[in-house]
């Protein structure tokens, strides 16, 4: 199948087929369509099977990448998926949303030549293959330990902790504040990038393995951490994710039509407002949409707005293209779909009409100065360069802050100055015995796979703790 005689390396990566930009920009179906088995084998055949594989070092959960790729090449996809499952319970998710270019693929030796193995595409292929063929992990049921673990938050960190601890024989209950499990995978990432059926499948698979999921439970409000201990949970993992959306703090921000990306995406994804009025939750359909920020949340918002029928969608960013934090693939997809980029531009105020709806935005042009603390060149306003643009919907995607809900009502939980939970980076241990934390509530906004990595480390520490002793009763604690 491979182009080269030795069968190791074709010249170019096998591209994954995608919906055509002109077509997909108005629908919510997934954009990349997946490899056929033939494509997967062809791509897998390019892998050099390095003796000391650098790709694995780039993977936060250390999947044995060369091994699963070899199995795909050998047409043993059912074994390939099992190889992945050894380290990663959510391959259908990670194959789609991991920033492979800065992780496994970025470390691939072929990356130097600009054509690393498409590890993400292959991971997705194996996971989708398993879904279609109904392949389930049939690991021998572990001996029950009789220990109960509470997991707060059902996002990528929480799901990983649950999967790892079930495999060790512990009983886990996941508490989710929203009405559907999945966290950011459900409310944040749009259908066209991560179909919700896939998330639901992963969650159901965990439930079949024995995880209990309690939705509609806001830990801190409905039940407290102390009460969970009283109910007999021996350890608690907190993975409640990102919280309060950050705003720009400029005039006119509370005009109708100016909203956070959290709100916009939650309406679209969790509440399925793109199907309004079949679903009851509405979403504003802007004609001229502006998105502030340039991360993946910004590109997700912009692409959602385009799919909801916008005439123009502009991403406004104060730095230049090189500094945009979104994945290159997302920026490329957005551009193909007709999204414009207004770079080196910063909003100064929002303009409203007499009933308080946004009708425009005043911006100022920026230039890049000396590097700042982040190492990126500092954007500086060019005096007198203000200009106005018309818009009827503004989506603010400039990051989030720590959610205070759980932390406010949990005495003794040490937080850093930004309100995030202080946790040991190696183990996830917090200042309270028996309580671990990981994911965005510890690090601030990061990626799905980083949260999963934190979950993996916490699970291993929790297992060790539960095996050794478990939580001392309160009286003998101090």
């Amino acid at each position: 199948m491979a182009d080269n005689e030795d069968g190791t390396e074709t010249k170019t990566r096998v591209a994954m087929p995608e919906q055509e930009p002109d077509f997909r920009r108005r629908n919510f179906e997934e954009v990349p369509l997946g490899y056929t088995q033939e494509m997967a084998i062809k791509e897998a055949s390019r892998c050099l099977q390095c003796k000391s594989p650098t790709c694995v070092e780039g993977c936060p959960v250390e999947i044995d990448i060369p091994a699963f790729i070899q199995l795909i090449k050998d047409e043993k996809v059912d074994e390939a998926i099992k190889k992945i499952w050894e380290k990663n319970r959510l391959p259908a998710v990670c194959g789609r949303v991991c920033p492979q270019e800065s992780q496994c693929e970025g470390r691939c030796v072929l990356a130097k030549k600009g054509r690393p193995i498409a590890i993400g595409n292959l991971e997705r292929f194996a996971a989708d293959f398993a879904r279609e063929k109904g392949i389930e992990e049939v690991s021998p049921k572990p001996e029950p330990t009789g220990k109960k673990v509470a997991i707060v938050g059902s996002g990528p960190a929480g799901l990983t902790v649950a999967a790892d601890l079930i495999a060790k024989g512990h009983q886990v209950t996941i508490f989710e504040a929203l009405h559907k499990p999945g966290g950011v995978l459900v409310y944040g990432i749009p259908e066209f990038r991560l179909p919700k059926d896939i998330v639901a499948d992963e969650v159901e698979s965990l439930e079949r393995q024995g995880a209990e999921i309690e939705c509609n439970t806001v830990v801190g409000m409905t039940v407290t951490i102390d009460e969970l201990f009283e109910e007999g949970y021996g350890a608690i993992f907190i993975g409640v994710g990102a919280g309060l959306p950050r705003f720009m703090n400029i005039p006119g921000e509370n005009l109708v039509g100016v909203m956070s990306a959290n709100e916009y995406l939650t309406r679209a994804n969790l509440m399925k407002a793109y199907l309004f009025p079949e679903y009851d939750t509405p979403i504003p359909k802007g004609k001229n949409v502006v998105v502030l920020g340039a991360g993946n949340v910004a590109t997700d918002s912009a692409r959602t707005a385009m799919r909801l029928g916008a005439d123009t969608v502009r991403i406004v960013y104060r730095r230049s293209r090189e500094e945009m934090p979104a994945r290159a693939a997302e920026i490329h997809h957005a551009e193909e779909e007709g999204i414009e980029f207004l770079l080196l531009t910063n909003p100064t105020r929002f303009l409203g009409d007499d009933v308080g709806r946004v009708v425009g935005m005043e911006c100022i042009k920026m230039e890049l100065g000396e590097p700042d603390a982040s190492g990126r060149r500092r954007p500086l306003a060019i005096e007198g360069s203000e200009f106005e643009i018309e818009c009827d919907l503004v989506i603010i995607a400039v990051g989030t802050e720590a959610n205070p809900l759980l932390t406010r009502y949990t005495e003794g939980l040490k937080l850093n100055k930004w309100g995030y939970i202080e946790a040991d980076p190696e183990t996830g241990k917090t200042s309270i015995e028996g309580v671990w934390a990981g994911g965005d509530i510890v690090t601030g906004s990061a990626t799905v796979i980083q949260a999963m990595g934190a979950g993996r480390r916490a699970a291993s520490s929790i297992h060790e703790y539960l095996t050794r002793n478990g939580r001392a009763s309160k009286s003998v604690e101090s």
Partner: protein, 277 residues
């Protein structure tokens, strides 16, 4: 699933009381806090401040006005039917302490939210003066319940069909003139709360209002419920829902509440068409 164990139509069927089985929430709920209800898979998440909670029965009570698609859907639920989702308690509870004389002003379904707060303030040892109002006599709710927890109760109707002919603010002004008031709590339509704060301001009487802006998650994630309080953005779901009324930008709140006016009409229309089939 959260089963409705009691249902009552009030104010000519324009207002509905639901007592809902939700033991975890009932166990924790305090006056001033809210829940989010969602009727079914395709439903909206609707925040409603609770009118009562009973830890022993394991129930919470909400009283809401039927105003659009979602509340029409709620209204169609009978005893024995269930809400698919109920989340709570959310928001900060009312700070109930003894301050002296408190005036509790309620309008429309705001009276339902006001009642447990008035009760709590009475139990804390305050003298409680109640002023409740509605457009007409038959739209007044919970009059007897309010009378039971207030030292004095005034009833007002816009059309004079019962009690004072005029607004709650007329009576409030009179009370403020006649005696020393230490705290006012005003819960009702936004214009009513706005006028109450305008009246109490010259008397320098602290005035709490309970806000119900548009929100999705109710846990501090969406920022849709942001309210300008003393020039600073606050999230009603985690910082509220009660705020110092003298610092709230009510005009902005009113504009923000209109955000989905067109969509609400479309949704209600689609719902009614379905019912007519």
């Amino acid at each position: 699933m959260f089963k409705i164990v009691k249902r009552k139509e009030m104010a000519n069927g324009t207002v509905i009381l639901n007592e809902i089985k939700a033991p975890l929430i009932a166990h924790k709920a305090k006056p001033g806090q809210f829940v989010i209800l969602k009727a079914d898979e395709k439903g909206e998440r609707i925040p409603l401040t609770m009118a009562d909670s009973d830890p022993e029965r394991g129930t919470i009570t909400v009283i809401y006005k039927v105003v659009g698609k979602s509340t029409e859907l709620f209204k169609s639920l009978e005893v024995g039917d269930s809400y698919q989702d109920a989340i709570g308690p959310l928001g900060q509870p009312t700070h109930l302490e003894k301050v002296g004389t408190v005036v509790c002003v309620g309008g429309g379904t705001g009276i339902a939210v006001l009642h447990p707060i008035a009760q709590g303030l009475k139990r804390a040892g305050n003298r409680v003066i109640g002023i409740i109002g509605a457009r007409t006599d038959d739209l007044i709710i919970l009059e007897e319940e309010m009378r039971a927890v207030c030292d004095e109760l005034f009833v007002c109707t816009d059309d004079g069909s019962r009690g004072h002919h005029g607004f709650v603010t007329d009576i409030l002004r009179k009370v403020l003139e006649e005696e020393t008031v230490n705290l006012t709590v005003a819960i009702g339509p936004v214009p009513m709360m706005k006028f109450v704060t305008e009246i109490t301001k010259p008397y320098k009487v602290k005035t709490l209002v309970s806000l119900n802006p548009i929100m999705i998650d109710g846990t501090g994630m969406c920022g849709g419920c942001r309210v300008s309080v003393d020039g600073e953005n606050k999230f009603a779901c985690v910082d509220g829902p009660e705020f110092d009324g003298h610092k709230v930008d009510f005009d902005q709140l009113m504009q923000r509440l209109q955000a989905y006016q067109l969509e609400e009409k479309e949704s209600s229309k689609a719902h009614r068409c379905k019912l007519d089939l």
